[in-house]
Symmetry: C2
Subunit: 264 residues, 2 copies
């Protein structure tokens, strides 16, 4: 059987995770689902997001994936327990690897978390961090304008920098030395976030951490013969055009082939 | 039978229309549906948006509304023909009233239209304007950051003004004398848009125009006895909390009672 990993997100953002996983696990074929008909998850309730995550996972498991990456912070925060109860393959979210990495980097144990409204409201990062290190201080900040700024492609623009200064001010005042980019879109704003926070502040990129953690988990997994290079596939729940157009910048300009529309 | 009007939008924005209709048609009970589980429509395809609009309209017609307001520019642009074919009650969108009003105000027949990606891509306003006045020049500009800025409540903030200057520059350079606010969220940014465009520029507020046009259409409609004041109802497809919290500012601070979750 071809070795397959399923990755899903509410939309485009998970492509940053896809990109890192594709670099780290080059023998695996990746199946990516972007739930573009129902994006965003960040403002939706736990119940709704869990239901969507179950539907997508059922689709991917039926495609015989041997591991599942929840490349969406909101879905990781809300739906991971339900998914782990339902499916028997390894399932990895973006919260746990990010929390572990932040604790490995911080020196003053003051950690900032930025994300969507849903991720912040879920308290998933503070809970994960305190479970690993009960004394750490966690300051969360929702940055709802960052996703549309990324989708506009305004990665290095003065408007983006102004908004970043406003959102990040409370984290600076609190003296955090590490910031978790708790949304898969945010790695594309790393430059501005680093500049605003200061060059000595550690930024934790969920996409990189998931790839690292997944490589660990799948190390030694016996691999069948596979196409070289593997032919990754992309599935979306709405028309593929926008996903293809905007998605390119998440893959460093590489174009997205084979984007298929599915109904869940 | 109690006189009822159904109003729907992809989410919160249509509350600006609700607000104006409630002021103009005080004897009618309004039923509002916000499709908060599937918001936004602006980036979704025509096919998907039309399907959603049909589902919501079926729900409202089953609640015995006697007129239907599509208080969402994307849905008006995409779904109005399908809705008019399916249902026999009067159905009014936001595009036609806005286009008529713009043509009544303009003197140089250079008209700007601002809206979501979907509304702009649909070409609904240019088509409606040219159908009424073939020689008018129409310049469209998608402003995808305006909706999240409104939902942040940054109505009069420097970050919003900076972004408005950037989005509106092409309209100013083209010398438009009238701008259609082609998204139901935008009336909340009227102050900044007016300041950036200049005080002599006419702004067309879809919410006001829909209320005006609906009053015309329903004038002389025989009204049964109704509760005074009528008890409006709100339905959402995701958890009501965020809708109640953020929705207040669309109704001038008035709180939203009776928000019920429905499944379509």
């Amino acid at each position: 059987m071809e070795p397959r990993i399923g990755i899903f997100d509410s939309g485009l953002g998970g492509l940053t995770v896809f990109h890192e996983v594709a670099k780290s696990l080059q023998d695996w074929t990746l199946l990516y689902v972007g739930d573009t008909a129902r994006v965003p998850y960040g403002t939706k309730s736990k119940e709704t997001v869990t239901q969507y995550a179950l539907e997508i996972s059922r689709f991917l498991v039926a495609q015989q994936v041997q591991a599942l990456v929840v490349a969406c912070n909101t879905a990781s925060a809300y739906a991971l327990p339900a998914l782990s109860e339902t499916f028997e393959i390894p399932i990895i979210g973006v919260v746990e690897p990010g929390a572990q990495r932040a604790l490995a980097l911080t020196q003053n144990y003051k950690i900032g978390v930025i994300g969507t409204e849903g991720t912040v409201r879920s308290e998933a990062y503070p809970q994960a961090l305190r479970a690993l290190h009960p004394e750490c201080e966690v300051l969360s900040q929702a940055c709802p304008l960052f996703v549309p700024l990324v989708e506009e492609g305004w990665f290095e623009d003065p408007e983006t920098e102004g908004i970043a200064r406003r959102y990040l001010a409370p984290l600076q005042e609190a003296g955090v030395d590490t910031v978790i980019l708790g949304c898969t879109h945010y790695p594309l704003l790393k430059g501005i976030i680093q500049r605003v926070m200061g060059l000595t502040i550690h930024l934790v990129d969920s996409a990189e951490e998931v790839a690292r953690s997944l490589s660990e988990q799948l190390k030694g997994h016996a691999l069948a013969q596979t196409a070289t290079p593997p032919e990754h596939r992309f599935f979306v729940t709405d028309a593929p055009e926008r996903f293809q157009r905007v998605g390119r910048q998440f893959l460093g300009g590489e174009s997205l082939q084979k984007v298929e529309k599915i109904t869940l």
